[in-house]
């Protein structure tokens, strides 16, 4: 049974339209949710959590309909939207004392171990934390009640490279050890290169790809070379062509790469795919 199934979600705002959003998060998998700023990542996350009311479409967590089973679903899920930007005057231990009451599966030793691991002092107040430490505290709460699905909006933005790496390892550990699933949005695509199993890519409120990450990445090639060596027929097929001082770079679908003789064709990564796709 899928951890999350989203079918034909629609939400119309005066200046933005979430169109026919469908994807699924399988159990024990890490799904990366990518898209540029304003593409609809947060609106999608809020819609599936019933914080925003979709105009149409269906959302199921663990086979249970949302919002009919909102209470049960939320107990089995952990959500964070960026840093812990709440109750700045309250101590971490006070917030944790409140938070833990809502989750019957709260694991105090696990919570204490994350506090230690992240170097968080429970007596400190939220306002005394840096942005990075505040994200770590939000994550500490989210990770301490054995959630079956973690929904994380930009969990790595604002973290230093070492902390990001540490966090990605924790994600892998949770998936491997507890069989949990993770659905996280980010624009730091290199994080997903490292550990995502699946990718969902949203552009202007519409899902343009959702599936296995390796297959998705393998379906593109980076191509570069001298502009004069670029055949006109191939030029039309290049996605996000950038030309400067007689040199060009861009992206090709793997099927089109066969015609790129004499040009430098290299494997693509998520960043180049996203940048070139958005460039158009």
């Amino acid at each position: 049974m899928d951890a999350l199934t989203v079918s034909h979600l629609e939400k119309r705002y005066p200046s933005f339209h979430l169109r026919d959003v469908s994807f699924r998060v399988q159990p024990g998998r890490i799904m990366g949710f990518i898209g540029r700023n304003g593409a609809g990542k947060t609106t999608t996350l809020k819609s599936i959590l019933n914080l925003v009311h979709p105009d149409s479409g269906a959302v199921q967590f663990f086979g249970l309909d949302m919002p009919a089973h909102e209470f049960a679903i939320k107990q089995r899920t952990a959500c964070i939207f960026g840093a812990a930007n709440y109750y700045p005057q309250s101590a971490l231990k006070t917030i944790a004392a409140v938070y833990r009451r809502f989750y019957p599966t709260w694991d105090e030793p696990l919570y204490q171990s994350y506090l230690q691991r992240f170097g968080l002092d429970p007596n400190k107040k939220i306002r005394q934390l840096s942005q990075g430490m505040s994200i770590k505290f939000a994550l500490t709460l989210a990770l301490s009640h054995h959630a079956e699905l973690l929904i994380l909006d930009e969990p790595t933005s604002g973290l230093d490279p070492v902390s990001r790496d540490e966090l990605l390892h924790i994600f892998e550990d949770i998936v491997d050890r507890e069989g949990a699933s993770i659905f996280f949005s980010t624009h730091i695509t290199s994080d997903l290169d490292k550990n995502a199993d699946n990718i969902t890519y949203i552009q202007n409120g519409h899902i343009i790809a959702s599936g296995d990450k390796d297959a998705f990445v393998a379906s593109y090639r980076k191509v570069e070379g001298r502009s004069e060596d670029l055949p006109p027929a191939l030029k039309e097929r290049i996605i996000g062509l950038h030309e400067r001082k007689g040199e060009f770079s861009g992206l090709l679908r793997a099927a089109d790469a066969a015609g790129a003789n004499g040009l430098a064709v290299t494997p693509a990564d998520l960043e180049s795919i996203m940048v070139c796709t958005e460039r158009g």
Binding site: K46, L51, F71, S90, T94, V98
Partner: protein, 213 residues
């Protein structure tokens, strides 16, 4: 629900909510419009909601495993607790006031059971205007508070005017001496307070359920 109430008192209630509980002592002032004593607590409630904007209270709470209507219910229970506690803490001062200075309050109603009935209606009107208007946005507090205070003031001034201008009511309700009619006013106040709070809950929950956060 208990968990949400714990959250309210641990994280959300503004310190002024506690401080204004002690305003009941102002009933010892010989001549004073006693309804104003209770107005202060609406400020404490207002600060709790306003502070919620600065602390992202609504967002933190709605991400917890709770239904939106539970969030509204917990907040309303908290507001009711702040209001009822203030009334209960004021009762000894009202008794003391009548004991040590049985002269009439020249600035409005005397501190008797009828006053508390009127104050309950006043709080009920405040709640039924303020909470539903707040939960339309989940963060705007200024306009809902102004309108709630306005509605509350109109009710109190009208009630005071009727009592002052009707000799039969003035003799029975505006006095430090006990009269059974005062208990009737208190009972009516309790009933109206309950009805108004129920309406406040239903209207607020409906607005909040519809709201996109």
């Amino acid at each position: 629900m208990l968990n949400l109430l714990y959250k309210e008192w641990k994280l959300a209630v503004h310190p002024t909510g506690y401080i204004f509980l002690s305003m009941g002592a102002m009933l010892l002032i010989p001549n004073y419009p006693y309804a104003v004593v209770f107005f202060y607590q609406t400020l404490g409630i207002f600060f709790t909601f306003m502070n919620g904007g600065a602390t992202n209270d609504v967002f933190f709470t709605t991400l917890l495993p709770v239904r939106k209507r539970d969030v509204v219910q917990a907040r309303l229970f908290t507001v009711i607790a702040l209001e009822v506690l203030q009334i209960l803490l004021a009762v000894p001062f009202a008794v003391l006031r009548c004991q040590i200075s049985p002269t009439q309050n020249l600035a409005g109603m005397d501190a008797n059971a009828a006053l508390f009935g009127l104050v309950l209606v006043m709080f009920g009107v405040f709640n039924v205007v303020f909470l539903p208007l707040f939960y339309r946005s989940g963060y705007k507090t200024g306009t809902p508070y102004l309108l709630a205070v306005l509605a509350m003031t109109v009710v109190v001034v009208a009630a005071e005017a009727v009592i002052q201008l009707t000799p039969a009511l003035k003799q029975t309700l505006d006095t430090t001496a006990y009269h059974p009619l005062q208990m009737a006013v208190l009972a009516a106040g309790v009933l109206l307070y309950a009805v108004l709070n129920l309406a406040a809950y239903r209207l607020s929950a409906r607005s909040f359920e519809r709201l996109d956060l």
